[in-house]
């Protein structure tokens, strides 16, 4: 069963008087429970695709379905793109500026914000923890964004306070930060910060976790540990992980790799139950 479906997704950016097509009609599926990578060289469009799957960037056209929800079903993407917002996008850490302005309606913004909270988890290459909150509070943060009394798709919204506490403590233990839960991000190492980010991404029990170059700022030892942890959680919780990476170690661990070049898919390899590049790579 596909948890994420991209159909003819395009993304264009105006660059001065020119239009640059960063993603050129990409279509692929990610099945539930996959450990998938979108890979390719710098500027191939992998981060742009991940941002679009993460609902933090809008496609110029095409269809995106996440967990059965057609995100832009009633939205005229071309009209948004043509009036579009002054936005940034990351491509292998490089921020490129667009001069085009995008006006996303409040209604659409609220809908995709809620979908991000309930259906998606994020792991950023810069960790992006909230500096004033400690480990426990950072992990708890997405849970507190749920509105009381509002109907929700997230299973955690119906949890009692005690159940939430137990769930957060379980995740903290799972990522090996039991002794660090009252520490603030500034007091943690890079690996510990990324472990916190992983726990935060998992806390809403979102079906899809998106990770943009999660090991880019970690040393090799920490990178291996983090990847092993994510793989373990993927197996244990059947949570779908989608990476945007050109890190060969991640690609070798994945059972689905979409390879991009100049905004187009050049390879889409799947290997059910094992890694695309063989078990030995794990």
């Amino acid at each position: 069963m596909a948890i994420v479906t991209l159909d003819s997704i395009r993304k264009t950016y105006p660059l001065g008087k020119l239009e640059v097509e960063a993603v050129k009609g990409v279509s692929f599926n990610i099945e539930k429970g996959e450990f998938a990578a979108i890979s390719g060289p710098s500027g191939s469009g992998k981060s742009t695709i991940l941002n679009m799957i993460g609902l933090i960037d809008l496609p110029s056209s095409g269809s995106l379905v996440i967990d059965g929800i057609d995100i832009y079903k009633d939205v005229n993407l071309s009209s948004i793109a043509s009036t579009g917002q002054k936005s940034k996008f990351t491509g292998d850490g490089d921020a490129k500026k667009s001069t085009k302005k995008n006006f996303v309606s409040v209604k659409l913004d609220n809908r995709i914000t809620e979908l991000r909270r309930t259906h998606l988890g994020f792991i950023f290459q810069n960790f992006n923890l909230i500096p004033v909150l400690n480990v426990y509070e950072n992990i708890e943060f997405p849970l507190l964004l749920g509105k009381k009394g509002k109907q929700s798709d997230s299973p955690v919204d119906s949890m009692t306070k005690t159940q939430r506490e137990e769930w957060i403590n379980y995740l903290i233990e799972k990522v090996g930060l039991s002794d660090w839960k009252t520490h603030k991000p500034g007091e943690l190492s890079g690996g510990q910060r990324q472990r916190t980010a992983i726990a935060r991404a998992l806390v809403t029990k979102a079906p899809v976790i998106l990770a943009d170059e999660p090991t880019a700022n970690l040393d090799s030892e920490n990178s291996s540990q983090i990847l092993a942890l994510m793989k373990e959680l993927n197996k244990e919780m059947n949570t779908t992980f989608i990476f945007s990476t050109h890190d060969a170690r991640i690609v070798q661990m994945c059972n689905h790799v979409v390879y991009l070049l100049d905004g187009k898919i050049v390879d889409d390899k799947k290997q059910e139950g094992s890694n695309v590049y063989g078990k030995g790579a794990n």
Binding site: R116, P131, V132, L145
Partner: protein, 512 residues
């Protein structure tokens, strides 16, 4: 909300230096405004209490004046009148009818009548060629002349402390002198003033003339409040006061001249009276004055004819007054009683108007309010500066926290959450800083009040509404100040929050 509050407070703590600078600005601003308000309000309250108890009463009833003329207990003035030109204070007409309306109105405790004028003391004790010292000019014994109805005035305003002598009587040509004025008299003329001394009361009349009357000093007094803003005062016999105030029969009956008076000259022009050529004028048969003086036919004792009427018209009208002053039983009822009185005056066709103490002491109140206005202008400038600083600091804060805001948005925080977070931060810092400012102001007020600072300069007393410097704000103005600071902080958030809301989750990925 707890999460937002926690993040907001921790962010303030995280950015301690910025919060501290911001807090100090707000704290100092609040302290200055509260101290200033405390000073102005206590001055105004002190002035109100002093004037209502001792000079204006709760209600003043005055005569009708032309549009543009300001009338208060100290006389009439107009912005449009030429410098130095005096405007006559109108006599209160139909005093008996006004009296009967007052007596039939509920809530009035006591009543008296008064005449006011301005004058200064001269003396014949000094040689004719007396010249005051150059530095004594400020001590010219200039005063405000109050003449109250002798049977009631000192019962209604019973705070005056007689230190020597007696109160003036209606007919006695007597003056009861403020001890401050006694000192001034000595400094200016270098001769002491004592009970029983004759002085010359000199002042502008109601026309262009100058009135000089001799009076006897009947006593000396201290004002009820030694720190009063009121200038030097002299209580004077009412007959004497009427000479200065123009309250004569002539003025009272000016509109109904007896038919016996030949008024044909009043319609003649200057040419009618003095026209013709110079030759005609000087060759008209009158050789020179010596011929007239030599003439035995001229009766110099009767040159003006019958002057009985003129003398009668020049007599003071002992039933005329400038003002009626009232004290009410309950001060909270004052405005209601004023409205009732004015309605009754209008219905009875009387040219009288009841006003409150502020209008009665407008000359003094306006000075204090002017100072209040300057202070308000300074507060507005201060507020704008603080507002800009807060806004600027918050904009910098938003820029610094782009990644954090973007991350929150990526994790599912809607715009309302971000908006609430920033508003909570600025409300928290403004409330905490305002409370600190309040504490600081209270400490400053305690210190200032414990020092019992008084000013002695007459001008300073008028400007400050009294000589005692005390800082006592009302609870209402304190809460209002804090509310305005918090509101200002919230408003200062609008632009930075708009900037924060423009941050997309995408920007979070390109930061840090």
């Amino acid at each position: 909300m707890g999460q937002i509050f926690r993040i907001a407070l921790r962010n303030l703590w995280q950015h301690k230096t910025k919060s501290l600078i911001l807090g100090i600005f707000i704290c100092m601003g609040v302290a200055i405004v509260l101290c200033g308000n405390g000073f102005l309000e206590s001055s105004q309250r002190g002035m109100e209490r002093d004037f209502r108890e001792n000079y204006t009463g709760d209600i003043l009833i005055e005569g009708k004046v032309d549009d543009g003329v300001q009338l208060d207990l100290f006389g009439a003035s107009s912005m449009s009148s030429a410098m130095g030109e005096s405007i006559a204070t109108p006599a209160l007409l139909d005093v008996d009818k006004i009296d009967s309306i007052i007596k039939s109105t509920d809530g009035i405790k006591s009543e008296t009548k008064q005449i006011s004028a301005m004058a200064f003391f001269g003396t014949e004790k000094v040689p004719e060629d007396f010249e005051p010292d150059d530095n004594a000019q400020k001590d010219l014994p200039y005063f405000i002349m109050f003449s109250g109805e002798s049977s009631t005035y000192f019962d209604v305003f019973n705070g005056t402390k007689l230190t020597e002598g007696t109160y003036p009587t209606d007919k006695g040509n007597e003056v009861l002198v403020d001890n401050k004025l006694k000192d001034k008299f000595l400094k200016y003329y270098k001769v002491p003033l004592a009970v029983g001394d004759k002085v010359l009361v000199e002042g502008p009349g109601t026309g262009n003339g100058f009135v000089i009357r001799e009076a006897t000093v009947c006593g000396f007094f201290d004002p009820p409040n030694v720190n009063t803003a009121m200038s030097s005062l002299v209580f004077i016999s009412s007959d004497l006061a009427r000479s200065f105030a123009g309250l004569t029969y002539a003025s009272s009956y000016a509109e109904e001249l007896p038919s016996t008076i030949d008024i044909t000259l009043s319609s003649a022009s200057e040419d009618d009276l003095f026209g013709g050529s110079d030759d005609e004028m000087f060759d008209s048969g009158i050789d020179d004055g010596a011929d007239i003086l030599a003439s035995k036919d001229v009766d110099f004792n009767d040159i003006l004819g019958d002057t009985t009427l003129r003398d009668k018209l020049n007599e003071t009208d002992d039933g005329s007054w400038h003002f009626i002053l009232l004290k009410v039983k309950h001060q909270a009822q004052t405005e209601k009683i004023i409205t009732s009185l004015n309605t009754q005056f209008k219905e009875a066709g009387l040219e009288a108007k009841a006003v409150n103490w502020k209008s009665a002491a407008a000359s003094y109140v306006k000075t204090v309010e002017g100072i209040g206005g300057i202070f308000t202008a300074l507060v507005i400038i201060l507020t704008i500066v603080v507002f800009i600083i807060i806004m600027n600091t918050l904009v910098v804060s938003v820029i610094e926290r782009t990644a954090e805001i973007g991350t929150m948005r990526a994790l599912g925080a809607d715009k309302t959450f971000v908006r609430k977070m920033f508003f909570t931060e600025s409300i928290a810092i403004s409330v905490i800083s305002s409370i600190a400012g309040l504490v600081l102001a209270l400490i400053a007020m305690l210190i200032v009040n414990s020092l019992h600072i008084t000013v002695t300069g007459e001008i300073a007393k008028v400007i400050l509404g009294g000589g005692s410097i005390s800082l006592i704000p009302t609870v209402g103005s304190t809460l209002k100040t804090i509310f305005l600071v918090v509101l200002g902080s919230a408003l200062a958030n609008i632009y930075p929050v708009r900037a924060a809301l423009k941050i997309t989750p995408l920007q979070a990925l390109s930061q840090e």
